[in-house]
Amino acid sequence: MDLYPKLRSALAEPLKRRALHSPLVIKLVRQILSAQKRAFPWEASHLLALKAIDQAADAFLGRGPVVWHNVFFPTELLYGLGVVPFAPEAAAAAAVGLGLVDEAFRAADGRWFGTDGCSFHRLALGCEVAGYFPRPQAVVCTSHLCDIAPQSLALTAARHDIPFHLLDVPQRAGPEETRYVARQLKEMFFSLAEGLRKEPDTERLAEALRRSNEAREGLLRVSRLRREPPAVIRGDEAHGFLYIMLTSFGSPWAAVVYDKWYEELKRRREQGRWAVPREKIRLLWLHLRPYYANDIFKILEHEGGAVVVFEEMNHVYWDELDPRHPFLSLARKVLSHHGLGPLEGRLGAVKGMVEDFGVQGVVHFAHWGCRQSTAGAALIQQALREQGIAFLNLDGDCVDRQKYAPGAVRTRLEGFLELLG
């Protein structure tokens, strides 16, 4: 895709930071993007890119109060408030494509943010310090799954002298915990509304939950279709749709994109347009993928006929929401994440995906700095191998290209394919 070089050249000028806040530049970028339909492998991914840029435009042009959130926050609450959500971790992934990494890392280093931690947050902090992100008016964050997100986002809130709202999420998921989380969500909803001068409209919140349910249904339809062999979408293409899961549930457009994706998947299946000419091996991908150019999927697909047929991050882990009880319902959603609690929860979800998608192997991309995902890899590997499922723990970093060793990655992948062959 030649989209990123085009965007890079549009931003590579002395006033590039200011350009992000210019309605004219944003309009131009959207027009370029809109005309680039053929640069996208799927119409749905093109639509998603347009929606994402509209969302970014709302944030950069200040078309409403901008609220930063982490990717595990139940965004239905923010759409229900009518504010503009902005996810710095997701924006960091986009910053990789826009070539901002080196500059942002230098800026983060100046804030004592070392290389031992998660580079998504290091990059996000650097982008913020360097002026590439829109100014927040409030920051919300959950405490679960990631230790560094609340720390890093609290730092951002302190730097901008704005309120920081923490949603404290226990490991347990009992009735007490549901009430505890629901109560915090309710307080947060009304406190944000008051602080940002928004009407705390509970009907709008219920509507956001209904939209979230439509999106959930759409993703479930897509997932059911993807279970059927052979695969019609390549692994890295499917990863592109994760943006919705991490930022857009509750938005008016999440279900629209999933519906489009479903129609295309169905059409290509009917036409027999497969992801690889001859599918030999089906794989499940755990955690995220690298966002810089790499050969991982090419090696798997071209040299082994191995296709990543599903991603852990696209797993629908929660039940349908009840718009009549928004806070309790969102609390249940947050608490039902398979990564919370004892490792058996994640392991059970992974085993379910292995079975549903008929995979022979699992690739865990061990993103440097993610203790939540990587520290459990050894036990997951052991449990899957006992079931005869091959497991590859691929060390790397999702955004820091310096930690990508092409030779070592190739050797690991070749060994894995040999094992599966």
Binding site: R111, W112, F113, G114, D116, G117, C118, S143, L145, C146, D147, I148, P150, Q151, S152, A154, L155, A158, F164, L166, D168, P170, Q171, R172, E176, E177, R179, Y180, R183, Q184, E187, P342, L343, A366, W368, G369, R371, Q372, T374, A375, G376, A377, A378, L379, D395
Partner: protein, 309 residues
């Protein structure tokens, strides 16, 4: 396992409610592993994980800890949560409990945690088949007075020596010795094996024992103690606490010991540095991997700090 082992409950985090363990007639024992390499633990954990947590697992695997009836883990960070997963998987003790601790200290959190503490008490009581009586818990609360768990009391000070604040998660003993060898004295330690464990700077006993629910008192005691960096919704309180420590202990300089791969320390350092340097207190950052293998570098940097002071 001897009689003592049948009663011994291991714990690691300063938010462990040891009073609850004592109220059941059990013996809480903090398990602090000695510094060292961790070849066996490395087979279970990736390289970039908390070295303190790895040292705990290493000691458990080689049988260096005393025989335990059980262990109470606190879900303080992802490394500790995964340690509890491996501990259960390897059956390193008969009983394993994982306790959530809120990352905020407001009334909603206190009330939630009080109920959670009561649950934990019930689980321990059922496991050991011993009744947990409120009277016994009240007595444990009284007996477990602030100060009695100080493992390394702050030493005396020579007036001529610059007074240092040491900050970190688990501070190695050797660092205190090195500070003194460098001609400075340790005025206060803000660490989960020191100051954060014992002092209740924002709490009077009247406030703590208000009401008639011992679990609420227990929750208050821990959630109102000097906050650990993980109490992210309580950052203003942490700032205030640091300012108070500097004032009370007449601190002239600070050393932040950041455990390698500790996400909490990595960001907390920025807070501490901003706060203390804003008060004119220089802060030196030393990185540690729980092996004490970088003493030469530490000594040089401590000497530089001494010269600055």
């Amino acid at each position: 396992m001897g009689t003592r082992g049948q009663d011994l409950i291991g714990w690691f985090c300063s938010y462990t409610p040891v009073e609850l363990i004592r109220a059941l007639g059990l013996i809480p024992r903090r398990l602090l592993p000695p510094p060292g390499k961790t070849p066996r633990a490395d087979t279970y954990f990736t390289g970039n994980l908390c070295p303190y947590v790895k040292a705990i697992l290493e000691n458990a695997l080689v049988g260096e800890f005393p025989a335990l009836a059980g262990v109470v883990f606190v879900a303080s960070c992802n490394s500790m949560i995964h340690l509890s997963n491996i501990w259960r998987s390897l059956k390193l003790s008969r009983g394993v409990w994982v306790l959530d601790v809120p990352r905020r200290g407001d009334s909603v959190a206190v009330h939630y945690w009080a109920r959670r503490l009561k649950d934990l008490g019930g689980e321990l009581s059922a496991f050991f088949n011993r009744p947990l009586e409120e009277g016994a818990l009240w007595r444990a609360l009284e007996e477990e007075s602030p100060g009695c768990r100080l493992e390394r009391p702050a030493g005396g000070h020579e007036p001529s020596r610059p007074r240092l604040l040491l900050v970190g998660s688990v501070l190695p003993d050797v660092l205190r010795d090195m500070v003194e060898e460098a001609g400075m004295s340790v005025a206060y330690e803000d660490a989960c094996n020191a100051g954060r464990l014992v002092e209740n700077v924002n709490l009077t006993r009247t406030e703590e024992f208000a009401g008639s629910d011992p679990y609420l008192s227990l929750a208050r005691r821990y959630l109102y103690k000097p906050p650990c960096p993980r109490m992210v919704a309580d950052r203003d309180r942490r700032r205030a606490y640091l300012r108070e420590v500097v004032k009370t202990h007449r601190v002239q300089g600070a050393v932040y010991h950041a455990m390698k791969f500790c996400d909490l320390a990595m960001v907390d350092f920025a807070l501490v540095k901003d706060e203390l340097e804003g008060m004119g207190i220089p802060v030196l950052k030393l990185e540690g991997d729980y092996t004490c293998g970088n003493r030469g570098q530490w000594a040089t940097r401590l000497e530089a700090l001494r010269e600055m002071l």
